[in-house]
Amino acid sequence: MLKMELTNYEALRRHGEETYPHECCGVLLGQMDGEVRTVNSVARCGNTRTDSPHNRYDIDPRELVRIQRQGRERGEDIVGFYHSHPDHPARWSPTDLAEAHWFGCSYVITSVEKGKAAVTNSFELTGSDEADKKLVDEKIEVGHAET
């Protein structure tokens, strides 16, 4: 299960609207506790797939190294990633599965229809290696920060 505050949930959905009709992408940072991944912060990334940005995304590993380092300084780990599917369902594609390598992490996908964020789903990458990996539906629990 993936848990996050509403502000982070809205931030990743809004990112997809801002980059529409291109795919957005970013990193989810927080804590892993068994089967529960809790997001404390969301880091936006650039999409390096300028050749086909409407249906492909790729995060520059250099950006990932920086985000990972900054997260560790705050006591946060990478627990997942998000991207958008402009005018396409919020389901993982064969490309999403082929390119997924962070086992035990969440892959969040938001469909953006005509510029508006629609459905947001999350999938956990399960399995033990490239041969048996699967993206499995998981619940997103959206909470509200205590005031």
């Binding site: 795919e23 992408c25 990193v27 892993m32 797939r49 086909s52 249906n55 492909r56 995304y57 790729d58 995060i59 590993p61 250099r62 990932l64 190294v65 920086r66 990972q68 560790r72 780990d77 990478i78 627990v79 990633f81 991207h83 599917h85 396409h88 993982w92 594609s93 490309t95 999403d96 082929a98 390119e99 997924a100 390598h101 962070w102 086992f103 035990g104 992490c105 892959y107 990458l125 290696d129």
Partner: protein, 91 residues
């Protein structure tokens, strides 16, 4: 000593540690030292013929070792290596 940052999905094969320290003169030696300490990591980092998997990026501090001297890149004291599986996809 060189510090190697282990990404979250691979920590289960590295004694659940976020970082592993090894004594090495090159990136290649550091990675060899890492898989010697934690043999279960080998199949996740290398193909059956011993090549680094295509989706495994290795960074020395903030530089991709592919743009340095690859795995022959020399290390200095207190260098940090990061293993970063790629992030990509789309519909």
């Amino acid at each position: 000593m060189t510090k190697i940052n282990i990404p979250t999905p691979l920590r289960q094969y590295a004694g659940k540690q976020p970082t592993v320290e090894v004594k090495a003169g090159t990136v290649s030696e550091a990675l060899s030292g890492l898989v010697s300490k934690h043999p279960d990591l080998r199949r996740h980092l290398y193909t059956d013929d011993g090549k680094l998997r295509s989706f495994v990026n290795v960074y020395l501090n903030d530089e991709d070792v592919r743009y340095l001297q690859k795995e022959a890149t020399a290390l200095k004291d207190n260098d940090t290596i990061s293993i970063v599986p790629s992030i990509a996809g789309g519909w």
